[in-house]
Amino acid sequence: MLTYTIRRLVLSVPTLLFIALVIFLLLELAPGDPMAQVPLTVPPEVKAQMREALGLGEPTHIRFGKWLWQFFVVEPMVLTDHLFGTEFAADKQRVISWQTRSPVMDIVVQRMPQTIWVVAMAYVVGVLIALPIGIYSAYRQYSVFDQVGTFVTMVGFSVPPFFSGVLVIVIFSVQLGWLPSIYDTTHRVVDWNTFVMQLKQMVMPVMVLALQTTAQISRFMRASMLDNLNQDYVRTARAKGLSEQIVVMVHVLRNSMIPVVTVIALGVPQIFGGAIITEQIFKVNGLGQLLITAIQANDLPMVQTVTFMLAVLIVLFNIIADLLYGLLDPRIRYD
């Protein structure tokens, strides 16, 4: 298991390097000049200096190498400096955003909490709703509950977040006026009232994101439970006189959770990507919104860094999912 983990981690390095290269080349190939907005009266040598200042003066492979160095060496140094008060990265060049001329990672750190709060909360809520639905609709297959559940998950699959989000805004903010339609990130929780306010503004984004999660995971849960309910060991468990609750909630549930847990792990990076749209609808200034504004402002270092971080998440959670599979199922131990 340990060797497998190490092998996967080592193998992920070339993958990530390749992904970084793909993103870099895509941005590189793009037509459009970051100096296009500069007035024509600016003399060419000044322009050349401005390009230099943006880190554009050198050939592609050198800039790629420099970006790798800054991302993988300088930024971790800054992190350790911040945590332990050391001075490794005192005068090193960091990845600089073209929009704000400040380090990209500082902005990412500022935006991270909003995204994590909304997205992570939505995912947890979605999973918590999905599991009981899946279990019960498999246990009572073809019952009314199952039929309705299947239909609702199909709808949850099909209604895109940019419609469900707008729809809940129309219903709960415009018509009923219960909830704010814009997520206020400057809001501080100090007492009970502000806590209620925070809850109120989180309800809608969490609901929209959770609908998607619920739809996917409850389908997986149902299918997995159905696979296990007809197995011989279930009949054995019933035959030796275990109560129905123990049979379903202990024996069957544990076995059917194995594939579902991996699906849950695989879904984490996807939801970060999907949050781009939800953040746009509810005006949450999280990572997704940061990415959109960076793309629109042609801020290539920012786009490169944020996209790459999403790729890191995907690769990381792929490995986590595979490891979990091996840990939970003793029949699959990668030795």
């Binding site: 993958t15 941005l27 209604v159 419609f163 415009v174 786009v303 944020v306 996209t307 690769v315």
Partner: protein, 321 residues
Amino acid sequence: MTDPTPETPPTKTPAPTPLGALSDPQPVAPPRSQWRDVWDQFKRHRGALAGGILFLLIIVVVYLGPLVWPIDATYIDIRARNEGPSWAHPFGTDQLGRDTLARMMAGGQVSIAVGLTAMLLALGLGSLIGVLAGFFRRLDGPLMRLTDLFLSLPLLPLLLVMVLLFRQALSSTFGPETGIFILIVFAIGVTSWMPTARVVRGDVLALKEREFVLAARSIGTTNFNLITRHVLPNVLSPIMVSATLGIANAIITESALSFLGLGFPPDFPTWGRLLNDATVYLQDYPERVFWPGVAISLTVLSVNYLGDGLRDALDPRIRGR
């Protein structure tokens, strides 16, 4: 080895009259074809049937509707702007007095065309890579690593980047509408072929070991003919299922891009674009977001049900139950 032997008619011996108990009962009805079985199973899945009919209905309305409906999608009647539903404008009008029904139909044409074309592209790519990886062992490793790489790319951000960076270049070469159409179809196609490739590869790997492939190979069938005559028809069912899912995925992705303002130009309606335009007037005319959103959701829902039914109908283990 394959030298032609002269035709010698086998000497015919008169067949002995079979005993009554040993004669096989002659089949009374002609054998049922596979597609007939599939259709029978498909019919029993009520949701799938409804989904299929609904999808066809949406296509018919969207493509043939403009022939019946007199108002043009781009006709501006500024005095009739921001109207609610009426007999003249069943879905109301927008802020420039353009008829929402006509715009919905025009937008649907683009959205569905993007969905179908992007699906075909993704399907073609996915089947090609899947068949090659499953059939030729030497290509399997590299192609599957490529698939894994694509699966670990953050797709939505990359799509956004691609669309934003290349829209200028393409619209100046092909004109604004065709350029963006090509760009979006291409972008969606090259980022959604991976699931198809994986499923097809798995099936081809299993098929390759079957006797009929060995038999075909033993009579000297070339690889190309083997793939087109024997392998492809047998992996048709997973391809068809991923086709339906591909349409749904492509329509949602296109609408998401349009919704984020990175899709088609503003005067060129698609469902996502209409939804995006309507959100600006959310406070005053909240009902306006309803139609495009419902259209997208219904199309995707019907296609998803269609795929569900197809998967059941094409699976011989479920069929006949």
